[in-house]
Amino acid sequence: MTRWVALALALLALVTVPLWIVNGYYVNIVSQILIYAVLALGLNVLVGYAGLVSLGHAGLFGVACYAAAWLVAGGWGHLPAALLALGVIIATSAVFAVLSLRATGIGFLMITLAIGQILWGLAYRWIGLTGGDNGINVPSRPAPFGLSLALSRPFYFFVLIVFLAAVAAMAVFIRSPFGASLKGTRDQPRRMTALGYNVWLIRFLAFLFSGFWSGVAGLLFCYYNQFVSPNVLALSSSAEALLMVISGGTGTLLGPIAGATLVVIMKNVASAYIERWNFLLGAIFVAIVIFMPEGLVPGSVRLWRWSWSLLRRPRAGAALRVGGGRTG
């Protein structure tokens, strides 16, 4: 019951953001959070539910971003550009998947790293296509049904709608029989095969789903930033995406969202005060991997419960101490 209340409150808060956040700059930050939350949710399909850690997902984010940017800058309308970009991202995800699913574990990590770097290299060096370091300017944001998204508030609602659609899609996906079988392949791939599942195909389809939503996030970023540069595809971007997933915790839907919130806020707000964003990124990464590998959300829940139990314990302990027994 409390879960539903919390969710309803959260939804209410999100929908009314423009009311209680007055400064357009901060509305933009929330937009960014939602965009990266979609990316993190997409990546979590692989990392959390399939058990496959990818260091190349910025590549999928970036390909969608570049595809849309290139098309729109070339005169295409927004809707056909978006549809084509999504098609491109599904095809790219398929190629990505076929190549990286030749391995699991560290092999998978390295293949996704290599492909991500190839895509980055293409963006950086194929100047004729991508403009290299100069990037591509996107002249306008889409105007669905004629409504302009040029200002931060209307754009925020647009992002919010896509974000909610993503969350809904994820929830349905993970609670479906296919989602259950995906988690099965994470835990016991050998047994799944013996039970009759096609483990490779399950992972492949999950990769497509993951890549699709990472691409959607890339599209949103393209409209948000109205500029794309090779930096979007850099290894540090893939690392940031991974950090969002593992800092929030991979087991829940809330985890990647919390992780994205954390990373975006730190990156934007902290960098105003602290110059060393990359150092902080690395340090938090290391700290989380070592001390809270299950992520901040489950880790905080654990911490919360532990501190509650500390509060309750002395009474039980006192009774036992009187009898001379051990406490705790």
């Binding site: 349905v172 996906f173 609670r175 479906s176 029989p177 296919f178 989602g179 259950a180 079988s181 988690k183 099965g184 835990d187 016991q188 050998r190 047994r191 799944m192 095969t193 013996a194 039970l195 009759g196 599942y197 096609n198 483990v199």
Partner: protein, 245 residues
């Protein structure tokens, strides 16, 4: 028709021959026991039958159908089920969900991305049924962490039986169980219907011998003795393999 027919099955790892020219015939409905000292190649034989390992030579027929080239994941759909020596259940899930996953493997429902897995009443009912058959229906909603080793072994068997296999491979189903737990599993296995052919690897003689109709003795990847219980127990080579060396 024989349930399982192996002809000249062979497998080597580098220079080591783990399965050497194995010929085996298990009749439909039979209860076959495979025994042999550690390293005899019993589990490897199971892995070859399920398709986890590809043989270097020879053939495997399941109820007359040649499955030597059939991929492992399809053999479950042909009526083959197995349990493992080391318990490989799905951690963090309830017993019910474990069995549901087992049932899902053979169902086209497994490709469905929109239905709610937890609301599949038909599947849930069958899973509860399967757990009831092994006496665990009361614990259906417990997670694995809250069950004992013996109970987990029974879940393994429940998962295998839930798929209504035609051939059931049991890899050391009694390993690590207490005396009472062994009795429970033994009762369970004796109650398996005749439609299911059972081939079992076991070390614990007392319990296994009761279930076995025919026994195959393996050593160094080869079959050295085969026959009825009485024949094998009295055979000189059996005693040599188990006591002599």
């Amino acid at each position: 028709m024989s349930a399982l027919e192996l002809r000249s099955l062979a497998k080597s790892f580098g220079g080591l021959r783990v399965t050497a020219n194995v010929n085996l015939d298990v009749a439909a409905g039979e209860r076959r026991l495979i025994i042999g000292p550690n390293g005899a190649g019993k589990t490897t034989l199971f892995n070859l039958i399920t398709g986890e390992l590809k043989p270097d030579g020879g053939s495997i027929r399941l109820f007359g159908q040649d499955i030597t080239r059939v991929p492992s994941r399809q053999r479950a759909h042909l009526g083959l089920a197995r349990t493992y020596q080391i318990i490989t259940l799905f951690p963090g899930e309830t017993l019910l969900r474990n069995v549901m996953l087992s049932l899902l493997g053979l169902s086209p429902l497994r490709w469905n991305c929109v239905a709610r897995f937890n609301r599949q009443e038909a599947l849930i009912a069958r899973a509860r049924e399967a757990l009831k058959r092994v006496g665990l229906d009361a614990l259906a909603d417990r997670t694995l962490a809250q069950t004992s080793y013996g109970e987990r072994r029974r879940v393994e068997i429940a998962m295998a039986l839930a798929q209504q296999p035609r051939l059931l491979l049991l890899d050391e189903p009694f390993a690590g169980l207490s005396i009472d737990e062994r009795k429970d599993v033994q009762k369970l296995l004796l109650a398996v219907p005749r439609e299911v052919t059972v081939v079992m690897i076991e070390h614990d003689m007392d319990v296994a011998l009761e279930l076995a109709e025919r026994i195959t003795v393996m050593h160094f990847g080869e079959i050295i003795v085969e026959g009825t219980r009485a024949e094998v127990v009295s055979h000189a080579r059996t005693r040599e393999v188990y006591l002599g060396e």
